[in-house]
Subunit: 171 residues, 4 copies
């Protein structure tokens, strides 16, 4: 796991209090990385063929995910200030777009009638997430907490049981 | 391995002395992570089916385990002071509970008559560990060293050869 | 992923500006590590036999790749100054040479008529890269930006679809 | 890879000079971890059965290997001073002993007539290494450079092609 929290210097409970925003952003990012990890695992498991564009689309996704610890640390250490919250949303937006591109390169290789294409479907959840991230970035400068609430809502949407994945796994 | 010890500045043996509590908490956490690693490996190896709840129960366990380095560092650098020792126990308590939930979601998917359910059994060790962690958290504020002794005892209990696992492996 | 960016202290957009060169060198190194990761994966997948020299040639390659984060950090934090840019090129030159040695030990084990030897071929791209790194190291002291442009050009050359790899994968 | 080098603050070649001992100890530890990685890989690959003692012997070995980055950093940053050089040898001695114990638990499980037991044989190299580490620890306080020379010699002895491993791999 790439996420990390710095050990505080004090001994008492008071030393932990300034870490609360750091911990909250840690939890949020842990959930996001977990969602990507699970979904990515299923996506790659369903893939029958790999080609150059798929490999690079995959690396492109990993690039944006690799920036999550940086965005998490900046947001947590600055108590969810506007710019850090906007940057966090930007990284999520690019990661979500990269995931979308990865599904498109996979469908292009497997065909529109493939099981993989059918299981991805219209990807309403993916598109809704991108719209939510974009809205959250703009809202960061007005009310950063609304932006954070949007990040939490998107995460909950993905945590809820997904029939498509359940179905793919039982086959 | 996620555990880490900072390199001291001095050159002599004296420079290592303040690291003794850091090293002791490092050893304890290494053993705990090793126990989880082994048990988790066997549990997942015995699993025949996976579903959404199992994946999230697994991620939930990983979340609490990912906090062990933080709790270890805080406890070691503060020479086993009350609050850090209590936090360490809290992380162990949540990790143990997460492991318990994971076994329950696995049994729910495989059925009470499955080999997996039989090999987990009544899980007396798991329940005793949770009770010991809870007691240790309370004792941290009176006598932190008794709490630490409890953490060590639980670790030894798990290190002792487990007939269930041995049995499962020979099959 | 071993690459890392330190979280800045300020809260505003201004705090991110000094990170621009750090981010640029991060992107460049991410792409290079990605290229090595993909190519190495295909090379090892195509290998039918392994012996001592192959194992050590592989470890030799990993050694130089393990220095990329260090060279990346030094180059980014010093805004592409001559010596850091030259060191970056030196690490790339040694990594490229190590990859070349690895292909030679693999061909020596599999024979000149093997599929592996044929798919590696004359390795014009590999030799051109080594020449570009060597030129870039010398140019670092005159115009570090020309050296950086060479690093980017080599990366683009490797990112472009490679018919050899595509071909090997479809088989 | 767990080994790491801190990025220096200066821009010129002079900034790299104090890193020379850090780099030398980095190279030495990289080679040692590589040797353990290769040998451990072959040992585990040759194992047909696993039991509790083997798992714990394996974890015991990982514990001592996990301390190598700490010992490496302390030795490199203190320019091979007596105590750090002695600590480095101590970690190598315990890691070597842990590897020896692991081979014994593996032989106990597979029998003295097993292919695994035959391929390990009398383990002269392993015993010679332990003796060299013990001698180096004592020599650290008189002449640390002789201790370092011993560490290098042991590493070279393991890097030299090993007929046992070659033989095991071709089978």
């Amino acid at each position: 796991m790439v996420l990390e929290m710095k050990v505080p210097h004090g001994t008492g409970f008071v030393a932990l209090q300034p870490l609360i925003p750091v911990f909250l952003s840690y939890v949020l990012s842990f959930v996001y990385i977990g969602i990507y990890w699970n979904n990515h695992h299923h996506l790659m498991h369903a893939a029958r063929h790999v080609n150059g564009p798929i490999l690079w689309a995959n690396l492109h996704l990993l690039f944006w995910l690799s920036l999550i610890p940086f965005a998490t640390g900046w947001m947590g250490e600055n108590h969810f200030a506007p710019w850090p919250v906007a940057l966090y949303g930007t990284v999520l937006l690019f990661a979500g777009t990269a995931y979308f591109i990865l599904t498109k390169t996979l469908i292009a290789r497997h065909g529109n009638d493939s099981t993989l294409a059918t299981s991805i479907g219209g990807d309403v959840k993916g598109k809704m997430s991108l719209a939510a991230y974009a809205a959250a970035i703009l809202l960061s400068f007005a009310q950063p907490w609304i932006a954070c609430a949007l990040y939490v809502l998107v995460a909950i949407m993905w945590l809820a049981p997904d029939r498509r994945i359940e179905h793919a796994m039982t086959e």
